[in-house]
């Protein structure tokens, strides 16, 4: 056991202070010290610093942030910074905490980043359900305008910048950057083919950089401490700290900030307080619901960084760790996720629209005790046909759980089909009485 595991509170150092949410509280704890410093630098110096720090996108894809910024055209064409706060990957709840507890941390990071990339207008696209995040951000933006951190000629630097919040309306797909741009344009949130990448053609066909909340919040710390200091956390390729959202069957769920390459077992048994009494670990989804599942044995040796998890055939994703104990049925878990992806498919690509529908139908039918042995192969076949064939990654995201749950827990699937009931629970899934016909 690893009860001694502790957090590295780098971005989250002051999250325990309620006043950190307000301008004064934020300023009293090191806030808006980096902004004036940044405004005196050359924008390219900041981009180079972010590149040197090794910062990678914290929303899921892990793309190097400085390199993304470097794709912008080198001219004076208007451009946008779009903060992706459409946190929707099942298991993820870190951005909500960051926006509610430290809205100015994000805002300062966004102003510095905007200055670096020469952008005069930024938007924070927040998922529509996050009322408290939207309120916190709107209040903080108003404070920042009043204090002269936003608006014309910020702190006498000659740099102008405006910031606004855009409220989503309930669509997982809008977390995909081109889907988000469509949504911000007031359209259905359907992703667009890349290239052109948003850095060349984004919001209103203008160059646009889309970065996650946690990514942008980290920028000012890189400025404060330098690239080398930031790189002291994590590994060569996975530098820095990361906020992990821990949930599922665990004693102490919550957000925990640790350096990348932190052992998953220390997260679960140390910070997370381990399993509930009498329960054993069965499986862990390490990076949000789209990440392939790990068995308990694999989880024991997994490290939480981009490369280590990729080597194990899964991914770090958004850093959402979902823990599943031995009292839970993997067939039911997979069916739950397939319903999610079917609901969230935007419908424009056939493999995804039809594929998620079939995966949902087949898993539901197995749960109801109507499965056939051939359905297990069919699940794998459908999932395999959904990979790499669509405009965005949602189709792959739906296929990956199938392609990991089924092979790794095949005995549970086969038992369910043969016996018409769950191997773990000993009963068949009862269709809930609250479902009226056509409720889904």
């Amino acid at each position: 056991m690893t009860a001694s595991a502790s957090e590295t509170k780098y971005l989250s150092e002051f999250y325990h202070l309620p006043e950190f949410k307000n301008l004064d509280g934020y300023k009293n704890n090191g806030g808006y010290v980096q902004l004036p410093k940044a405004l005196k630098m050359q924008p390219q110096e900041i981009i180079d610093l972010v590149k040197a720090s090794g910062l990678r996108g914290r929303g899921g894809a892990g793309f190097p942030t400085g390199m993304k910024w470097g794709f912008l055209p080198k001219n004076n064409e208007p451009r946008y910074l779009l903060c992706n706060a459409d946190e929707g990957e099942p298991g993820t709840f870190k951005d909500r905490m960051m926006m509610e507890k430290a809205p100015h941390q994000l805002i300062e990071g966004m102003i510095i980043s905007s200055f670096a990339i020469g952008c005069k207008k930024s938007y924070i696209y927040v998922r529509g359900e996050y009322d408290d995040s939207i309120d916190a951000l709107e209040a903080a933006i108003a404070e920042a305008y009043k204090a002269g951190f936003l608006g014309k000629n910020i702190l006498g630097s000659g740099f102008d910048h405006d910031m606004d919040v855009y409220r989503g309306a309930g669509a997982y797909i809008c977390g995909e950057e081109t889907g988000m741009i469509s949504s911000l344009e007031g359209l259905k949130g359907q992703p667009k083919l890349k290239p052109p990448f948003p850095a060349i053609q984004g919001y209103l066909k203008k160059p646009t950089i889309v970065n996650n909340v946690e990514t942008l919040a980290a920028v000012k710390y890189i400025l404060r401490d330098g690239a080398a200091a930031y790189r002291k956390f994590g590994t060569e390729k996975s530098a820095g700290t990361k906020l992990f959202s821990l949930s599922g069957n665990i004693m102490k769920p919550g957000n925990y900030e640790v350096p990348l390459a932190f052992p998953l077992k220390d997260m679960i048994y140390g910070l997370g307080g381990g399993m509930k009494a009498g329960r054993k670990l069965k499986a862990v989804i390490p990076g949000g619901s789209s990440a392939p599942v790990l068995t308990a044995e694999e989880a024991e040796r997994a490290l939480l960084d981009y490369e280590s998890l990729a080597q194990m055939g899964t991914m770090l994703g958004s850093g959402a760790i979902i823990v599943i104990d031995d009292s839970k049925c993997m067939v039911e878990c997979l069916a739950n996720l397939m319903h999610f992806y079917h609901h969230e498919s935007c419908g424009q690509c056939t493999p995804c629209r039809e594929g998620t529908g079939w995966l949902d139908k087949i898993t539901t039918s197995i749960l109801a005790g109507r499965g056939r042995l051939s359905d297990i192969e069919l699940l794998l076949k459908v999932a395999d046909n959904m990979k790499g064939k669509t405009i965005c990654a949602l189709s792959d995201a739906a296929a990956l759980p199938v392609l990991s749950f089924v092979p790794k827990f095949r005995d549970e699937f086969e038992y369910y089909v043969r016996e018409g009931k769950s191997k773990v629970k000993g009963t068949a899934f009862k269709t809930p009485s609250y479902l009226s016909a056509g409720a889904h």
Binding site: P90, F93, A169, A171, G186, S433, A439
Partner: protein
């Protein structure tokens, strides 16, 4: 026949000027229309918005139907959305939904007889560390998260609502 109030029309006009493109105002305008029409959107609401915004009804309609937060049918005074996705499911959201529906004598998506409640399931609401949870939205669009629920605590919360 539904009509937008002058106040709501003004708000829509403000949104039209707020963003770099007029079309960007469609999502915020739909929220304004929904609030005016007791929490759901009808073809009349779309027609009104189209007139004020000078954007074709079809363009507003396709946005309306794409997003889940615009309600397609009437909702009760309190719209209870229980998160059903994996972390909540692992912590008993199915049982919670069943309990709430039984206690309120409704099935999913229906409005309770007294008009006070509609219960629906929602996909991941980003509150996985405090599962199971529900979000309760009022017809005016304001909403709140209720977390770490048990059958009892959820019912206590619901009994306290108007």
């Amino acid at each position: 026949m539904f009509q937008l109030s002058n106040d709501a029309k003004q708000k829509v006009l403000t949104e039209l000027k707020r963003y770099e493109s007029k079309q960007s105002a469609v999502l915020p305008a739909l929220y304004i229309g929904q609030k005016e029409n007791k929490g759901h959107i009808t073809p009349d609401v779309i027609r009104e918005l189209s007139k004020v915004m000078e954007i074709p009804e079809s363009q507003i309609n396709e946005v309306f139907t794409f997003y889940t937060m615009y309600n397609k049918s009437e909702i009760g005074k309190n719209h209870i959305q229980i998160c059903r996705t994996l972390s909540c499911m692992l912590n008993g959201s199915n049982e919670l939904t069943e309990h709430i529906c039984n206690e309120l004598h409704v099935k999913l998506g229906e409005v309770s007889k007294d008009g006070n409640f509609t219960v629906t399931e929602a996909e991941c609401l980003g509150s996985c560390g405090t599962a199971p949870m529900m979000q309760i939205s009022k017809q005016d669009g304001s909403s709140r998260y209720y977390e770490n629920l048990t059958n009892e605590s959820a019912m206590n919360i619901l009994r306290g609502l108007k």
